[in-house]
């Protein structure tokens, strides 16, 4: 049985830059990493395979250099990776990205589970996971923090039919039973990502990673890229920094008391509003 993980390559948090004209993230000349929250999706897939067997495939949509994200997943233990890349796909919003990724997943076929990260640290929407599920007409469990496959029987090569998950929501954990196939998005609590191994890295170098573009997928080109995307970024600006930190030194009884008084005052003002 097959698990597909959607992996996004993002600029390193410290060096993100935006093109103020087009409202897109500048990806050239900036250090690119696997979306940190996708590492938990990768680890989850690897652990499921270790326990229940099967195959794990990474897919990523992005410019040609996003291939390194897939190589890294293979170095961590993935069986293979597929890069989705085409100039026609550039500038896709979450609707169009979900559409293209869902078409790629359909083409791979025969999967039990699709795993996404909770959200990407650049766009920061968390919409692509549920979006993929909707295009595939599958149920989605978001914010998953724990996973089990209860009715797995090791004699059969099959995975069973349901997945038990816990989902972390505002006021607690919700336990769900999901019929397979389904899509899940995972939070950090689900696992601790492993590091790539040396052997894995060597294997990753040798593994050929196919690149799929417009001719390989059944996508309507009028629904992808900048022009096919429903949403449009019209303005980018830096939030005004109006904070002027008033710093007080608290080094002896008196200055500590003064500092504490000030804080208490802030707090009381807040209570009165």
């Amino acid at each position: 049985m097959r698990i597909i993980v959607a992996i996004k390559q993002v600029p390193e948090t410290k060096s993100v830059k935006m093109d103020e004209k087009t409202g897109t993230v500048i990806r050239e000349g900036v250090e690119a990493i696997i979306n940190p929250l996708d590492l938990y999706a990768i680890e989850t897939a690897l652990r499921l395979r270790e326990k229940h067997g099967g195959e794990v495939i990474g897919i990523s949509m992005g410019p040609s250099k996003a291939i390194t994200a897939l190589r890294e997943a293979i170095a961590m233990g993935f069986d293979s990776g597929i890069l989705i890349s085409d100039s026609a796909f550039a500038g896709s919003d979450t609707w169009a990205t979900s559409y293209i990724l869902a078409e790629a997943i359909k083409r791979i076929g025969d999967f039990s589970l699709v795993i996404c990260g909770e959200r990407a640290t650049d766009g920061d929407t968390g919409q692509v996971g549920p979006g993929i599920a909707s295009f595939l007409d599958l149920p989605v469990a978001s914010y998953v923090s724990k996973i089990q496959i209860p009715n797995f029987k090791s004699q059969i090569s099959d995975w069973g039919t349901t997945l038990r998950v816990e989902r972390l929501i505002e006021d607690g954990y919700e336990a769900l039973s999901c019929s397979l196939p389904c899509v899940i998005t995972v939070v950090k609590e689900v696992s601790i990502p492993r590091l790539p191994t040396l052997r894995g890295k060597q294997r990753a170098k040798r593994t050929e990673i196919p690149v799929w573009g417009r001719d390989d997928l059944d996508v309507d080109l009028s629904k992808v890229g900048v022009n096919g995307s429903p949403t449009r970024v019209v303005k980018i600006f830096r939030p005004k920094v109006t904070r002027q930190c008033e710093k007080v030194l608290a080094k002896d009884d008196e200055s500590i008391k003064e500092a504490v008084d000030k804080l208490a005052h802030l707090y009381l003002r807040l209570l009165c509003r």
Binding site: E174, P230, P239
Partner: protein, 326 residues
């Protein structure tokens, strides 16, 4: 899209009405509150009208008691077909952030996540949706010129709840969900409530503890302060990774994004990944003994000192101030 829990309408619904009122006035159109659930309190539905809804559309069924993506999406799509709304806003909550993208795909609508500003563009009547991106370092304004409905999720606590006007009148429409729209391939088995009383995302005041606290045994010092302030307790990633507090407490890039009225950081350095989750707080206060700590760059008020000296005095003072107040 109003939200309910155990039949009670949640605060986010009133915040959405506050946003909706502004937009409806500018567009000169009707404002409807839609809610899915089971045995929702009638009083609470009336309150939605008192807080600004012209009509409340309540769909009820046992299967809608808790959020399940398929039945909720099916019901919503049905209503979209029937009412053809111009704009749909929902909370950027675990429910809204799952339901809205699922629906937006099927409705072929644009969806903007986690908005903190909504407005109407005068010339075109398009919805202008402003949201923080890249950890709050940049704000982006997004439009959906060619597609309808225009959809957004709105960051909880980014606006005040609409005030209640007792004499406001409106209609409550109760709809019965059709059988086929209630199918779900996901079954909710159980719910395990958090040990904390207040959830981080919903608290007005959050006290966040960082590595400066040195060891797990010292955490109660910070918890005591949080309790005395009626605040929720949060933590930086370092504290979580060391196992001193559980993951639901984590604030930041790989944890929760919070926008409380007051954030108090105790022994937090203010790494960029931490700032990504809290810099939209209204007032930021930090206690750190390093005068050059990054956290002071985003703070309104900074106490430069040893937290082990400051904390006991502070907690004691707050306890007394509150006792005096009552």
């Amino acid at each position: 899209m109003a939200e309910q829990k155990d039949g009670r309408v949640q605060r986010i619904s009133h915040e959405l009405l506050s946003r909706g009122l502004e937009l409806a006035e500018k567009r000169n159109c009707k404002l409807s509150a839609v809610i899915f659930g089971h045995s929702i309190k009638t009083n609470d539905l009336e309150e939605l009208i008192e807080r600004g809804a012209d009509e409340v559309i309540a769909m009820e069924a046992a299967e809608l008691e808790h959020f399940l993506v398929e039945p909720y999406a099916a019901c919503m799509l049905k209503l979209i077909g029937q009412y053809r709304p111009e704009i749909i806003i929902a909370g950027a909550t675990s429910t809204g952030r799952t339901l809205m993208p699922y629906v937006a795909v099927k409705a072929h609508a644009g969806l903007t996540a986690d908005c903190t500003g909504l407005d109407i563009e005068k010339e075109t009547n398009n919805l202008l949706q402003t949201r923080p991106a890249i950890g709050g370092n940049i704000m982006a304004t997004i439009k959906t010129p060619k597609f309808r409905p225009q959809m957004s999720t709105v960051r909880p606590r980014s606006t005040k709840p609409a005030p209640r006007q007792r004499n406001r009148k409106g209609k409550i429409i109760r709809l019965v969900a059709s059988k086929e729209s209630l199918n779900s391939r996901i079954v909710r088995m159980d719910f395990i409530a958090n040990e904390e009383e207040q959830s981080l995302g919903e608290a007005d005041i959050v006290v966040v503890v960082g590595r400066g606290i040195k060891r797990a045994e010292n955490i109660p010092l910070v918890r005591e302060l949080a309790d005395s302030l009626g605040a929720a307790l949060g933590a930086s990633r370092d504290v979580i990774d060391r196992g001193w507090l559980s993951y639901p407490h984590q604030v930041g890039l790989s944890g929760q994004t919070i926008s409380p009225k007051l954030y108090i950081g105790i022994g937090v350095s203010g790494a960029i990944q931490h700032l990504a989750g809290m810099q939209t707080a209204e007032i930021i206060v930090a206690v750190n003994r390093d005068p050059n700590a990054q956290i002071f760059k985003v703070a309104d008020f900074g106490i430069v000192g040893d937290l082990f000296e400051v904390l006991p005095v502070l907690t004691e003072h707050i306890k007394q101030t509150i006792n005096n107040d009552r």
